[in-house]
Amino acid sequence: MLRFLFRRILMMIPVLLGVSLVVFIMSYFTPGDPAVMILGDMATQEDIEMMHKELKLDEPFVVQYVNYVKNIVTKGDFGTSYTTKQPVLDELLARFPNTFKLAGLSVILSVLIGITVGIISATRQYSILDNVATALSFIGVSMPNFWQGMMLIIVFSVWLGWLPPSGFSTPLHWILPAVTIGTSSAAQIMRMTRSSMLEVIRQDYIRTARAKGQSERVVIWRHALKNALIPIITVVGLSFGRLLGGAVLTESIFSIAGIGKLMVDAINLRNYPLVQGGVLFIAIVMSVVNLIVDVLYAYVDPRIRTQFTTFNIRKKYRMEGDRDE
């Protein structure tokens, strides 16, 4: 397992290099001049040239890229934001806690609701409960996020006055945004849980467990759920990863200083150091999440675990020679 982890962490290096190169190329060829964006449409040609020099945009592409990578590797310096002149890393780290909290809360919320409802729905397929849960989940996924967010604000902040309409400073502020995001991913997790569970509970080993005299509760939650988890983990991992990259619309509606809005603003301003740093940062976070997902796969499914230690297992097979091939 340790070797696997080590290998995966090593494998992040080419990914990050790839990401940085791709983003660098995209930044370079995307229309829009950062200097013009910073100076506005009233800027004169001299201003713009002055800005180019200040931003080192007059250097050739390769030099820019090599310097960029070199600064990261040797100094841990992700560059300086064009607009604020603050280190990119500081800007990202200032926003990350909010994003992480929002993502974490909504994932927890959606996992709790999604898996529970999904299982109930699957074990009582076609019952009224299942139909209601299914209809709810359809509504949950099909409800546009910002519409839902705005409705929540109108109901809970304006009409009822229970919850603050924007910001993310206290737990009270967390509720509406987390619910907004949580709803659609809960619905998605619910759908996935239901369909995955439906497959699993038809399997023979579930019948075996029942034939042992095991109670239905244990059969579902211990025998079936663990088998159904792989696709669920995939969905959860994906949505967590995606949320860690920022939830732009929700962040905008609730005025949350998160990574998503930071990145969109950066892209809109062609603030390339921030875009590049942000994408790299997101890539690192995603890689870590993916790694966790893979570790979870292995934890959940011994067949996948085998792959991490393939060598050892093969040796074992050969020694005992009991594999009929």
Partner: protein, 291 residues
């Protein structure tokens, strides 16, 4: 197991007919299909059915509430919302369908190859997917728009490409749990090549999650397209598109409910229909449900 062997021997046309029969028995799926057909028909015949033109402004009749003349009311420029929704089904359905086709096609292929071959191939593809995941959709869309010029095609490509990783990872996970099963070994033993095994034996068996994901992502595609339109990267006005109707109308959400409600309902109904249909399709296609 015995069921499965019989299954494989069936002619594929028979299989499809069976699946279709089962689908038709599922009332929810039929409802979904009916809604989808209505949407498709209204997309095709929008110019016949719509009482007004989609871009006909009447600035003295702004924000009219729903009435016999304007079923869904009028928008901020006095355009008939009902007509715009009819025309909008063209754009939204096209964006949804094509981008999902792109993403599920590429994603499934990558995921299947990755999951089936494992090891080095898996590594390379998954790292590639990681790179894709890390690049923000908007950046991707802007770059594509920069190459192709702004317009609906970019939206479809950008939305499609950006949801490839989801499919790839999902399919990979399913394939990984399938590829060591006996019937795959059986197929391999009778000399089926990898392509055939993937296409004929593995993919049909992980259709369920793919279909669930595909129906879900039509909604996401429609909404992502709206977000891109909002940034000026999507459908060009005055061509209506549900998502951007919704985004543009959001400022009026508290004053003129119909401006956002009807496009929202249109999106929800579409997504709802695709979900019902996809669900039914999954049940119909799943050989394990056959008994």
């Amino acid at each position: 197991m015995s069921e499965k062997t019989i299954e494989i021997r069936h002619k594929s046309s028979g299989m499809m007919r069976d699946a279709f029969k089962r689908l038709m028995r599922n009332k929810a799926a039929v409802l979904g299909l009916v809604i989808i057909l209505i949407l498709i028909l209204s997309a095709i015949f929008a110019n016949v059915v719509a009482p007004f033109s989609y871009d006909e402004q009447n600035l003295r009749q702004r924000f009219l509430a729903p009435s016999p003349e304007h079923w869904f009311g009028t928008d901020e420029y006095g355009r008939d919302i009902f007509s715009r929704i009819l025309y909008g089904s063209r754009t939204s359905l096209m964006v949804g369908a094509i981008s999902v086709t792109i993403s599920s096609g590429i994603g499934t292929l990558l995921g299947a190859i990755s999951g089936y071959y494992g090891n080095r191939v898996d590594n390379i593809i998954m790292r590639f997917i990681d790179i894709m995941l890390a690049i923000p959709n908007i950046l991707l869309a802007i770059s594509i728009a920069a190459t192709l010029g702004p317009g609906i095609v970019n939206v479809m490509i950008a939305v499609g490409i950006s949801s490839v990783p989801g499919y790839a990872r999902l399919v990979r996970a399913s394939v990984m749990s399938l590829r060591d099963q006996e019937f795959i070994e059986a197929a391999r033993s009778i000399g089926a090549n990898d392509f055939r095994i993937i296409m004929k034996h593995i993919l049909p068996n992980c259709m369920a999650p793919i279909i669930v994901q595909a129906t879900m992502s039509i909604a996401i595609a429609i909404l992502s397209a709206a977000a891109l339109s909002f940034l000026g990267l999507g459908v060009q006005p005055p061509m209506p598109e549900w998502g951007s109707m919704l985004s543009n109308g959001r400022a009026y959400i508290r004053d003129y409910w119909w401006v956002v409600t009807f496009p929202g309902v249109a999106i929800m109904a579409t997504v709802f229909a695709f979900n019902l249909f996809g669900d039914g399709l999954r049940d119909a296609l799943d050989p394990r449900l056959k008994q």
